[in-house]
Structures are given as C-alpha cells and as structure tokens.
C-alpha cells in the first residue's frame, strides 16, 4: 500500500481551491441575479405571466357646429362575478338563483361560473337597460356591472365620409373617428390577472385594476342642415344621371371651416360591412381629377395679380391656336370672335386662356399653383388625403403650360380646388380647410377651440374683388347661368373635363362635370364645389349637370343661414327691356338660332350636332334683352345611329307639344291626366331605345 505522495496532495489541494473559486463565482452570479437585478427580472416575469381583461374607454361624441349629435357612444352594461366574494358571503345558491331569474339564464350554468376557482368571470356581456337596472337594485354580493360601449351614428348615412367608421373593438377606422382616434378614443383600462403558462388563473393571483379614461368629444365645423341639403341634392343627381361618383363641399371662405362635405357612392357607417369597400372612398379628399375649366380661375387670378392682363385687354379667338406645332382648339372648334378679358372668362375661351398663360410664363404660373396649394395636401383633418399630380416644373414644356392654363395636364382634389376658390372669395388669403371646431373634455369643459389658420396671402384684395365680379358675369351671362339664384349675386365657373383613360389619352364618352362658385358675390359667405364624375346621358356639361345642384344647395343654404337678399335696384330692372325666352328644344340648330335672334337674344352654342337638346334659361323665363341663351346640341349620329335617344325635359309642356316631341324622337306617349306635363318616366336625360313608351303625367294649371 502506497501512501499518498506530495504531488498528488498538491494537485488535490489545487483542485479544491479551484472549486472554491467556482462556488464563489456562483454565489456572486446569484447575488447579481437576485439582489441587483431582482426587481427588474421579477417585473418582467410578472409581465410574462399577466393576462388582461380590457375595459374599453367610452368614445367621445362627435357634434355638428350647433351641438347636434352626429356620432355617439351607446353604453351597455356587462355582468361579471367575483367568485371569491360570493364564496366568502356563502351565498352561491342565492346569487345563482336570483341571477338566473333576472338574466333568464340557466341557474346551473350560472352556479358553475360563480363557483369557479377564478377571481373574475363574465356572466353576460352587453345586457339591456332594464336588466342592468334590476341588477343594480338587487345589489347582489360579488356581482358587478361594467360599462362597455359601442359606436352609433344616429343620422345613418349622413356625413358618413366625414364621420368615418368605428370597428367592433370600438376604435376609429376611417374619417374623423380615425383621424382624431387618439382624442376621441380615450385610453382603455384593464384588469390584469396573473396566469399560468396555459392561460389559467394562478390561485391567489396578483390583480391590478387600471380604470379606462373616456375620450374627448369633438365639435365639427359641419352644419348638419347644410350637410343634409347637400346630400339631398347629390342623391337627386345620382338618381337622375347615375354618375360613377360625385362629391360636394360647402366651405366658409373667411375661416376655412368645412360646413358640409359629401361623397357618392355612400354607405351607412352603422353597417359599413353591408356596402362595397369602395363606397367608403371619399371623393372629396381621396381622388385627384383633371379639373378642366374650373381651374381657369387660377390662371385668371395669377394673370390679374401679376398685371399680365388688364380687364380692358381685347382678345381674339379664331377657334384654335398653335402651340409648339400642336393645334389646340376651343370647345367645339368654333370661333369666339373678339372679346375683352371678362368675355374670355365668361366664354371659357381656351384660346384666350392659353394666350394669357403663355404670357404669364412657367415660373409665375407655378408660383401661383403652389400658392393656391395645388400639389400639396391641404391638411384637412381627414385620413388619406391625396396630394394631386402636378407636372413637375423642371419638366414642364410650353405645351404643358398651355394645357394647364385651361385646366388640363394637372390633377387636383376637390378640397384643393375649393380651398383655392375660397382664397379668391375671401379677398386673397389662403385659409386652411378644416373640420375640427372644438374639443370638449369628458367632464364637459372646453379643452381647445380651433382658430382659423391663415396660411398665406395669395392675392391682393383688389385683384380678388375684381375677379369675383368677372366670375359673377359667368353666372349672369356665361356658361354658369344654371347657377343663378333669385335674390342673390352668384359668382362661379363651370367645368367639363374629358376623363383620362387608364392607359393615357382621353376617354371618348366620359366627362367630369363640375361647378365651383360662391355667393353673395360682393361678400361671399359660402363657397361650394360640385363634382359629378361620368354622368350618364346627354348633355354632360358642368353648366348643365353640376350647376343646378350648386344652385339648389346654395339657395337653400343661404336662406337657412339667413343671408340677406340683394335688392336689385328698380332703376336697373326698369331700364332694361325683358323678353320671354322661346322654346327651341328639338329644333334644328339654325332654326333655333333664328328664333332666338328674332326676339333679341344672343345664342351660345355648346356641343356638336344639329339638334337642340336643352336650353338655358328654360322656355318662358323672362330675361333681359340682349342676354345670352345657351343651347345644348347633340350629335345626330349619336341620337339615331345607336338606336337610342336621350329623353328631353318635358315638364311644363302641353300634351300636344309632348306628343310632337316624342314622335319626332320615334317614341310613344302614354299620357295620364290633362293640362301641363309635371312628371315623366323615365326621367329627363335617360337614354332609351327608339320605340319606347314614355309615361307622362299631366295636371291642369291652377
């Protein structure tokens, strides 16, 4: 037997020493984990084991400017139990029996729930008012009610594109409800309970209760009545002309407040899932379109402000103009002859505007495009606003400048266009369009009042005033006559733009008809833009399709707001001789022109063809002598070649006349009653096959 030598003993001792070091290191490591980082790790471990029961905050109400509710939160109570409390009171049987009675649920099921080994359990979600009242009276041990809320839009489809939608989890998904979700939504509360790895509650678990903070209410600049008027008129035109889309905006030019904003097609935010998702597209802010002639107000404003034109300047229109070897024609290719600047605007003469634009030059034109806010977001408080498409200045050619001057080449959004028009209407200041007027805290106190934002001065007061007068002329004498409102001075501009085909170029048969205007012309209170995208039937002109919508909206809105009428001085009305406008509908063009000239009226022709399909003003209206009557033409081949004809407006005509007109078109009459026509089916503007029977109702004059 060998005794252990020194070498072995030394090595054993060294190994022991190494183990002592290892044990000390471990002691240090555990000290670091448990004492130094203990709180942090414990917190993370707890978070890892916590499960939440979310308590939804109540969304704030959305009011119109007069305090009328547009979106509200409906509270419903949900019943929950705290089993430990019931156990403590030893009232399981009694509670189960009483609950079963009130909630009309199975007693055994309730008993099972309230005796579960959990600290919190839902008994029934979203019970009705009567039930929650009864439960409150009973005041059962360990049974409580938690308020849960749901979004409700009491006005249904009204202002849907402004208000937006809220999801089932009570969060804003679109519109103001989304844009101001942080404000309106409040902060959700929660009950947090510790759980095991499979989501079951740990006995004697840790609890936390974080109460929800209700959202603030918002007051919008929207006026429910004006919104209603606008939507009513949009619905009317949607029914009559079945366009692909439409939109309208009414704005206060002095403050930038949006008083009404609507897009079509529409949807009901309470059941938005029943509608195609495309219906939620807000034309007014999401779509950029080529505006056509309404854009000429920008060219006019720029040229006037820069003194490129004087009101007294004379222009000559030969019917077309050559720019960089490209020939651009005036509408219809007919000459407008010689006219002053106001005449160029009234006639919407492309050649005139091209000349003005070219004289102005690219640099100055772009300066005004930018100043009027084109190519940039207006900053309206709605989600998803489009910027529009402006030809980049660096790449712009003389052709671009020429086409831009009369409203082609650039794409703008309706909200941009109305903001630009407001600038002209209010004396030259660009106001930021906005929807939020006031924020009200959950306790009812006013948290914030939004003041109008002046963005920049674009025009001098004088230029703006002058342009207003010229635009008034467009409505008085020019293409905007359908926008005339009795008793008010109206200024405006029509627009009819051929739509751009998806692959480039223009579509043959689709137009965007629009009207942009304001009233009263000397001190504008309201600016309104109506855009109708691809109306069916003929005529498709802005002055024919959009201007009447504008007229109805503005007339009712001005009256509702109590805007005083302008007294037309007796002197003026006595001096001028008035004549009754003859009926020229369905007459060949030359015959119509002769008829009108005979009574001393001027004729403005719109469209191609040789048959008159519409006239403004209507027959028998009294107008000043020498004023203009617009006749809308329709191409003969379109009317006859396709085997389809467009129905004229028969209202106010005698049965004899109606019969004559219909037989000329190859249609049959099915009359009802006697006297003058007041109702027809299908409506005017509808295209029907030759040989169809048209129902017309007549009623005698009172």
């Amino acid at each position: 037997m060998k005794t252990t030598g020194l070498e072995i003993r030394k090595r054993i001792a060294t190994l022991f020493f190494i183990f002592v070091v290892v044990i000390c290191l471990l002691a240090g490591r555990f000290f670091w984990l448990q004492v130094v980082r203990g709180d942090e790790l414990a917190e993370r471990a707890l978070d890892n084991r916590m499960r939440d029961i979310t308590l939804k905050a109540k969304r704030g109400t959305i009011y119109d400017r007069n305090g009328r509710e547009l979106a509200i939160s409906v509270s419903t109570d949900s019943v929950y139990a705290v089993p430990a409390q019931i156990r403590k009171a030893k009232k399981e049987r009694e509670v189960a029996q009483k609950l079963a009675e009130v909630l009309q649920m199975d007693e055994k099921e309730i008993y099972d729930r309230i005796t579960r080994q959990v600290s919190f359990v839902w008994i029934k979600r979203q019970v009705d008012l009567e039930t929650s009242r009864k439960l409150r009276e009973l005041d059962l041990e360990g049974i409580g009610l938690l308020e849960e809320s749901r979004r409700f839009y009491p006005k249904g489809t009204l202002a849907s594109h402004v208000l937006g939608i809220s999801g089932i989890d009570n969060t804003g998904l679109d519109g103001v409800d989304l844009y101001y979700d942080q404000l309106i939504g409040g902060t959700d509360g929660k009950i947090v309970i510790e759980h095991d790895a499979f989501g079951r509650e740990i006995p004697e678990a840790t609890h936390r209760y974080i109460p929800p903070i209700d959202g603030s209410s918002v007051v919008l600049t929207i006026d429910e009545t004006i919104q209603y008027i606008l939507e009513r008129e949009l619905d009317k035109v949607m029914e009559q002309r079945q366009p692909k889309a439409a939109c309208g905006i009414v704005m206060d030019p002095k403050t930038g407040e949006i008083l009404a904003l609507a897009s079509r097609p529409n949807f009901d935010p309470n059941r938005y899932n029943d509608y195609p998702a495309d219906n939620r597209r807000n034309f007014a802010v999401h779509n950029a379109y080529e505006p056509g002639s309404t854009m000429k107000i920008v060219t006019a404003a720029a040229a006037m402000e820069e003194d490129t034109v004087k009101v007294s300047d004379r222009f000559h229109c030969p019917g077309s103009i050559k720019v960089s070897n490209r020939s651009i024609s005036c509408a219809g290719g007919t000459s407008h002859g010689s006219m002053d600047f106001a005449g160029v605007v009234e006639n919407s003469c492309n050649v005139g505007f091209i000349n003005i634009g070219l004289k102005l030059g690219l640099e100055k034109y772009y300066r005004y495009l930018n100043a009027f806010g084109f190519g940039q977001k207006t900053g309206i408080d709605l989600p998803g606003e489009a910027k529009g498409i402006i030809v980049p200045q660096s790449r712009a050619t003389q052709i671009d400048l020429a086409t831009m001057s009369f409203g082609q080449a650039n794409a703008v959004t309706p909200i941009q266009l109305i903001a630009a028009a407001s600038t002209i209407a209010n004396g030259g200041t660009y106001m930021k369009p906005h929807l939020l007027k006031q924020v009200i805290a959950p306790d009812g106190k006013i948290k914030e009042t939004i003041t109008p934002t002046k963005v920049r001065q674009v025009l001098s007061k004088e230029t703006a005033k002058e342009l207003c007068l010229i635009l008034e002329g467009v409505v008085k004498n020019g293409s905007g006559r359908n926008a005339q409102i009795e008793g008010y001075r109206v200024a405006g501009k029509t627009g009819t733009a051929q739509k751009i085909a998806p692959g480039g170029g223009y579509m043959a048969n689709e137009y965007v008809a629009s009207f942009l205007g304001f009233a009263p012309a000397d001190d504008p209170r309201l600016v309104c833009l109506i855009v109708i995208d691809a109306p069916k039937g003929y005529p498709y002109y802005g002055g024919w399709v959009a201007a009447p919508v504008f007229r109805e909206v503005m007339a009712d809105s001005l009256r509702y707001l109590g805007v005083p009428r302008t007294e037309i001085s007796k002197e003026e009305s006595n001096q001028k001789k008035t004549v009754a406008v003859p009926d020229v509908i369905n007459l060949p063009l030359d015959e119509a022109v002769q008829t009108l000239r005979k009574v001393g009226l001027k004729v403005e022709v719109q469209g191609d063809g040789n048959l008159v399909w519409g006239q403004v003003p209507k027959a028998n209206t009294r107008v000043e002598q020498n004023s203009r009557v617009i006749v809308y033409l329709s191409p003969v081949e379109e009317q006859q070649g396709s085997g389809q004809v467009t129905l004229p407006d028969l209202e106010g005509k005698s049965m004899k006349e109606v019969a004559r007109i219909l037989s000329q078109l190859g249609l049959h009459l099915s009359p009802d009653g006697h006297g003058l026509a007041y109702k027809q089916s299908p409506a005017a503007g509808t295209r029907v096959p030759v040989g169809s029977t048209i129902k017309v109702s007549f009623q005698p004059l009172e």
Binding site: T4, E7, R9, L33, R49
Partner: protein
C-alpha cells in the same frame, strides 16, 4: 498494514442528509402543481424520490460501514456490469424512449439509469487502477492512453443514447482524476485542447446543440424557443430576490419553467427561498467539497485519496455545472443537481458514492 478505524466524517454525513431533505421539500413544492395536473397526485414525484432516498441512505450506510480497500476487486466487476448495461440500454426493447433519448432500463416497478451506475463505477475503477499504476501514468502510451481509450468508450456509449450531460460529467471527472493521479500537466493540457475540439465537433454535428449554445449567449433573442428555459429560469431566480417569495409560492412553476423538479429545481428554490436559500445551499456545497477533499488529503493510501477526491470532484463538478446552467452562465446541458433534483438512480448512486467517501473518512489520519 492494518489501519486504525475511526468514526466517519459526521459533518459530511449531516450536510448530505440536509441536502437530500432540502431536495425532497423542493421536489414537492416544484412538482405539486404539474404532477397534480398530470397524475392527479401532488405527491407523485416526492413519494418516488423518498423511496429512492431510503434506498440511497441504506446503500450509503452499508458502504460506510465497509472497508473501502476490501471492495477494490469489485471495481472491475462493477465497471464491466455498467458497460453491459450501457450496451443493453441501446438495444430495442430494453431501453425506454423518453423525449427522443434512450437513457433508462425499465424494471417494471421503476426504471434504472445505467449511466449513473457507470459514473460511480468508473470513478471507483480509476481510483483503484491509478493507485496501482502510480508513476506509470507519466508515460503517455503505456500510462495515459489505456485510460483515455476507456473514457472514450464509456462516453461514446453514453453519447449514443444520447446524453451529452452525463458524458460530459464523466469525462470531466475522469480527466481531473488523471490530473490528480499525477499525469503530466503538458499531456493534460493538450488533451484539454483536444477535448474542447471534440465538444466543438459535437456541437457542429448536431445542430440542436449549436442552437442551444447560441441561445445561451443571448437568451432574450431566442426567448420563445431555445432561450425559453434559460429565460424562465432567470425570471424565477430574479423573482426570488433576497428573501424569496416563500416556500410553495413559486409562480414560475405554473408550467412556465420546464424540468422544474429535475434539472431546473434550483431556479424554483431560488424563487421561493431567495438569495438566502441559495446561499445556504452553496454553503452546504462548499462544506461538502471541503470535507470531501479533506478526506482525500488525509486518506491513508493513494487509492483512498483518489477515491475520495474522485467522488467529491464528480459531485461538486456536477453541482457547479448545474448551477451554472440554471443561472444562465453555461449552455443548457441537461445535468441534474446532485441530492436535490428528482431522479432515483442519480440520488441512489450519488449517496452510495458518499458512502464510499465516508468509508474512506473512517481511516483518515492527520499528518
């Protein structure tokens, strides 16, 4: 030479009994929830561990009473038996497949882990053989090589199961015994480098080991899969703080921490008993190592020295690696904590080893 018989090392005995008791309590606390769910019996694991503890205590007392020198011949026989069992467990129909590894032999009423037997038998055989070959070990070919071949065979068989953790413990213990037995430090350093190379190769060959290895370096990045155990373990330990959440109050045992009553039982201990509990166990471990190596230093012969040092090294190294894994300082290897983790064979053979250690302690003399 007849040796004078003295009393066994009482402090070592008490430390081991204390550690086993702490183990039983912690197994109950850590497994009550899971075993109640899985087996409808909160005492499922603790009952089994108690039976094995009784077996282990018996083995410990019997071996303690024996003269370790008289058991010398048993060393070879034990090693041969262990090797047979290691081969047998790999045969289909004998080994029990648990989670993709075959480590146990089903004995009907219970199961038996051959690698635990092997561990003890190898230490015993090494102590016996190295003491006889003292001096020869300095030669590489004649002294060291046969032992290395034996280590290679044993570890190779265990890795076939596969059980990397136990193979690692055996290799580390055998290696340290060779060092203590007087092998050349230069030889051992080269071997150490080779060993590191082999570990790298093992990791390289089995991708899951690689992921485990990387996960250990940055567990938060792999929090949902490979780093999961480490992170849940750190959560548990950290939640304990200085004084712990109280016995039975662990939160992490609610299915968050896997292996909470086996390899990761120390994390639950840390959570429930805090740093104080951890410190007590580390102190007991220190006392164990101190007494163990003290016995080795005072043993009457080289065999006794190497046997005591080998057993102490085996248990202390295993405990250190386990605590390193639990505290996130080492990659997850799957090694239980001696005396405390659930596992019958492990407990019984570890306690048997302590019996041998106590047997040596009875013949120590101060120099």
């Amino acid at each position: 030479m007849r040796l004078k018989q003295g009393p066994p090392d009482l402090m070592l005995f008490l430390v081991v009994v204390l550690l086993v008791c702490i183990g039983l309590i912690m197994i109950f606390s850590a497994s009550a929830v899971t075993s109640d769910v899985k087996y409808q019996d909160a005492f499922f694991f603790v009952k089994r561990q108690l039976i094995w503890a009784v077996f282990g205590l018996t083995a410990m007392l019997v071996l303690m009473k024996m003269n370790y020198q008289k058991l010398r011949e048993l060393g070879v026989a034990g090693l041969i038996l262990a090797l047979i069992c290691l081969v047998a467990v790999l045969l289909p129909g004998i080994g029990m497949d648990v989670k993709g590894a075959v480590r146990q032999i089903d004995l009907g009423f219970t199961s038996f882990t051959p690698s635990e037997l092997t561990k003890l038998c190898l230490v015993f055989f090494f102590a016996s053989s190295l003491s006889l070959n003292y001096g020869k070990i300095k030669s590489f070919v004649q002294g060291l090589l046969p032992y290395l071949v034996l280590i290679g065979v044993v570890c190779g068989l265990i890795m076939l199961q596969p059980d990397l953790g136990t193979a690692l413990i055996i290799a580390v213990t055998a290696y340290l015994m060779l060092v203590m037995a007087g092998a050349r430090i230069s030889h051992m350093l080269i071997l150490a480098l080779l060993g590191v190379g082999l570990v790298c190769l093992a990791i390289y060959l089995e991708p899951y080991r690689m992921v485990r290895f990387i996960a250990f370096l940055d567990p938060w990045k792999y929090a949902s899969d490979e780093g999961f155990q480490t992170i849940q373990s750190l959560y548990a330990i950290g939640s304990g703080g200085l004084f712990g959440m109280g016995l039975g109050q662990s939160r992490q045992k609610f299915f968050y921490l896997p292996e909470q009553h086996t390899d990761f039982i120390f994390a639950i201990l840390g959570e429930e008993l805090g740093y104080l509990g951890v410190f007590v166990v580390l102190t007991l471990l220190f006392i164990f190592a101190w007494r163990g190596f003290q016995i080795a230093l005072k043993a009457p012969d080289i065999f006794g020295s190497l046997l005591a040092a080998g057993i102490t090294t085996m248990i202390t190294a295993q405990a250190s690696i386990n605590l390193g894994v639990v505290s996130g300082s080492l990659p997850v290897t799957g090694i239980p904590l001696p005396f405390i983790s659930y596992g019958g064979s492990s407990l019984m053979f570890t306690m048997a080893g302590v019996g041998l250690l106590l047997s040596v302690s009875r013949y120590t003399h101060d120099r």
